[in-house]
Symmetry: D2
Subunit: 328 residues, 4 copies
């Protein structure tokens, strides 16, 4: 199939590469000309703007928007919708908030344009491993795009099949290839949002565990209770037969193998919105989300030296006990 | 009554003062001679050591140990127990772990010495406001010491009586004066330990709330959703008729009235053991203690610039997404 | 002053009573006729609807809406705005989301109607103790309404003044009477929202603490480490000289004095929106809110027998260890 | 090598099987005769008691104790130590608290008996997949036992090697086979304890995520924001190329494939000690462990219908607002 990709960053560029290698055609655009040029060398067709892009697509044009969530995505989709013809398909493959998808899909429907939201996981490894995709949209449209998804997805690979699977009605065979039609517009990004919420929680669980291991050599502990543990070996051994083996652990093992002190990293950790939205969703549903929220807050906390709240604590302690602060 | 006080720091010294003013006698000892001298000027009898101390007391000597928990308290009580005669009373008025009390009480019983543990709250304000006391020990002994406790306690004061009170069997009239016989040895420090666990939780609730208020002027927020709030006035107004009025809020209001920025404090917050032990107790009882533990962890976190866990998070993010760290 | 009150529930009705007693006049309306009748007997003027209400007010009419947040408040304010004349004042005294205030205030401005949002704390005790008020609105309007606020507020009462207070520029003398002008429209409800977030945190801290105390008699603990503690006395003694004394503790002491088992309550705990919004605000500001969120989640959790998450845990444990579930 | 196994439950029995298949010899004992008989049929040598067991071993006897932590393990090791000769080796392969290992190792050293503690992960899958082992003990002894460990471990298998590995000094090649010598006695169980703490955190992250997904169809949500998601397919797709793929997710996918409602499970979740000890370790080291503690508390909470804390909350709400409880 022929597809237009708007946004050729790390994700968008590699998706195009994977599609080209799979025999599809891609028309590409980015504000950054050299990103276009690079892909043209690899077989894509360059475009000079959104009008040119539309012109280089046939009927039922497929636009894949792969831009940062918020204004870049919003403005681009608004512009595309104006240029679209009935039957065209706009895909938001970025990290949008699912309520924005629901809203936008209604606008698109009014113009007989289809709207599809896709949450993709796989990061920089997607080109090689394939992209895990969670797709929201109308069934007919998602089915129409299937050749695209099949090429992008990891496929069955060497991952062992899940016992018991395909015994319930309604299970989707595509899940075993690495993509699902999650539901109507918004459902793709919703599932991806929860995925990222879980991701934060998993990461924080490992982070706290390795912190406990590392701090076990602290000279504040009784001398016969101190251990100077080899974190690199521990991460490695947990990859092999333990209950907590995972891809995130594989990555941690690799980072620790490079440098057990992780001295390259100061520990200032960004979050990208999904963790926040996942907690919002939990609150709307009255679901307790202790771990997912704590994981998010740890990132906020990592980015400030002290909170004002910490100062309030010190002020109270001084007030009732005359306590002065500890030296850091 | 005549009582010996060992440890004349902020707490021990003021307790002696309050007892002297209440007509009791005190023999005092501290490793720091000038602390002894100060109290002698106010009417106490100085001692040169534990032997001298015992000599200056009659039968049924009362030793009040007011030292830091851990070795200072443990060693002093061990030494006192050796010098004690049957019928003597050893009081640990510090912040000991209640299981240490249980253990020590057994050692004392073997020598016919009584052991009493007292958790006191009130901080530097106790001299003036009186001390809130939670007492563990045998009933006969606690009753014998009652004149001491009555003098130390705040008394009824102007605090309105609790509706419904004194209608259940087994309620203790002393509670309205500000002290209770909580149970056998260890019970006093156990109740005080939970008190401090709650204290950490309350403090952290206010701390987070004031942080949310202060950060509402952040220029990362949409311009029409920013507020530059006066924290001093907010703390003040909450003291008056609101559901969250408390003594800790009074202290916060006073600190904010002095300097709304709390610039005197960096936000490095100590913890003193009770918070930790309260979580241990919760775990032994399988009681969920989300808030009390989070409050404790916030203090740990306030004392390091970055955790190793934060670095692990950054290493993973770099691993799967090529993400570099945020500038702080 | 003469004021119209729409919504005569527990809060609205008592506010009218307090205003009448303070020499103000009130025109009252509610869908429930007997609530109107009751207040008419106490000196209020009844109205048959919003039109009648407007007719019974002079120029610069003051409408106080005291209804549940969401559609009841929204619809009433929309209707009032249609019937309002330039110069009129609409007050939302309920528990609205502050972003709704910001939006509504813009609509009002367009019609030269003033919008004021007031967060009130004090619950059923307000009639007697006075209402603690956090007010958002334009300065001129808030000043104009001052006689109303002064009557409603608790006043200085017997609460000791805050040391250091009134030494910084910009402090508001009204705070000592129990109300503040927090900022532009929305600021009143924002401050009240954070107040309630803190309230949840404080409550949960006490709740966990009393749970640890109560569970200390569990027969799962070693026999010499069990205590059968008198919670009623403990709550009472903490009211007197302890660091954790507060109004919420006073209420707890009273409830425990009535029945130490609290058998009247099953422990199914509602939340009213502010706790949720406070976490949202924290996330927008990137403020870690571990305690406030945990307190909110405890309420969600109290309302279900088991979460689906609990079942997922059991399924995993069965999967890797063949573990069957514990009997409850 | 020839080894004695005491305790032939799920773990002990399968370890014997794996060793027999690997060409080792095993003398086996359990209080339950039929467990002995079963293994004798598979080639083990049965024993009638600890004395018989010692008699059937040569010099440098190896005793592997595989019993529940606490008194069963403690008593058995005490008895074995009495019957041991200098040079013998006692292995605690269960889930003991690492401080018990440190204590016991000192007792063993005094009798020239070696003590080794082994944390094993792998659950019921170990027979087939091999056991991931974390070993504490003296180097010479651990090296001596290597043939045993090599047979028990999973080996390299098809797990891809970790990039960067074996470039730092001090890395242990055995880690790639699935076992490590973590440090002196106690270190094995310490690392296993942290492993389980992480395990609880990971499990809770997935649990909360699936709860948010499932509750998205709640009729309390606005109708156009509800999704009826297929959890089975979502778990499956996340196994394939996503950042959160893991063995625990594989197990979840399998359980959901069997029954998306997980109706077989009520959600009453046990914990086995390690999660508790991991939090204790974190507190001793002053490491914030928000996620690991929250995961533990969720299990406590899953085992009671309501906490007393919940009742305290209801009592307070009734006290200040006259609020009655929600129907569950």
């Amino acid at each position: 199939m022929r597809i237009a990709m708007i946004g050729l960053g790390r994700m968008g560029g590699n998706i195009v590469r994977r599609l080209l290698r799979g025999g599809h055609e891609a028309v590409v655009f980015d504000r950054n000309q050299h990103l276009i040029d690079d892909l043209v060398k690899e077989g894509a067709v360059g475009a000079t703007g959104l009008d040119d892009l539309r012109g280089k697509l046939a009927e039922r044009a497929i636009f894949w928007v792969m831009l940062p969530a918020g204004p870049p995505t919003e403005d681009t989709i608004t512009a595309l919708l104006e240029k679209s013809l009935p039957g065209d398909i706009i895909i938001d493959g970025g990290n949008s908030f699912y309520k924005d998808d629901i809203r936008r899909a209604k606008l698109c429907v009014a113009k007989q344009v289809a709207y599809v939201d896709i949450g993709t996981s796989g990061g920089v490894w997607g080109l090689e491993r394939g992209y895990c995709m969670m797709i929201g949209g109308e069934t007919e449209v998602v089915d129409y795009l299937d050749p695209i998804f099949k090429t992008m997805a990891p496929g069955r690979g060497t991952i062992p099949p899940t016992p018991n699977r395909m015994e319930q009605e309604g299970e989707d065979a595509r899940a075993e290839l690495g993509y699902i039609h999650a539901g109507p517009p918004g459902a793709g990004h919703f599932v991806k949002m929860v995925h990222n919420g879980i991701e934060y929680g998993l990461m924080q669980a490992y982070a706290e565990g390795f912190d406990i291991l590392k701090s076990k050599k602290s000279d504040k502990l009784p001398e016969d209770e101190r251990f100077d543990l080899n974190l690199t070996d521990i991460a490695e051994v947990w990859r092999r037969g333990s209950v907590i083996s995972s891809w995130l652990l594989d990555l941690t093992a690799s980072a620790l193998a490079k440098d057990q002190m992780l001295a390259q990293f100061t520990g200032t950790v960004a979050d990208s919105g999904e963790g926040h939205w996942a907690i919002e969703a939990a609150m709307e549903e009255a679901v307790p989300a202790y771990v997912l929220s704590a994981a998010l807050f740890a990132r906020y906390r990592s980015r400030v030296e002290h909170t004002f709240g910490d100062q309030v604590l010190s002020a109270m302690r001084f007030g009732f006990g005359g306590h002065t602060e500890m030296p850091q």
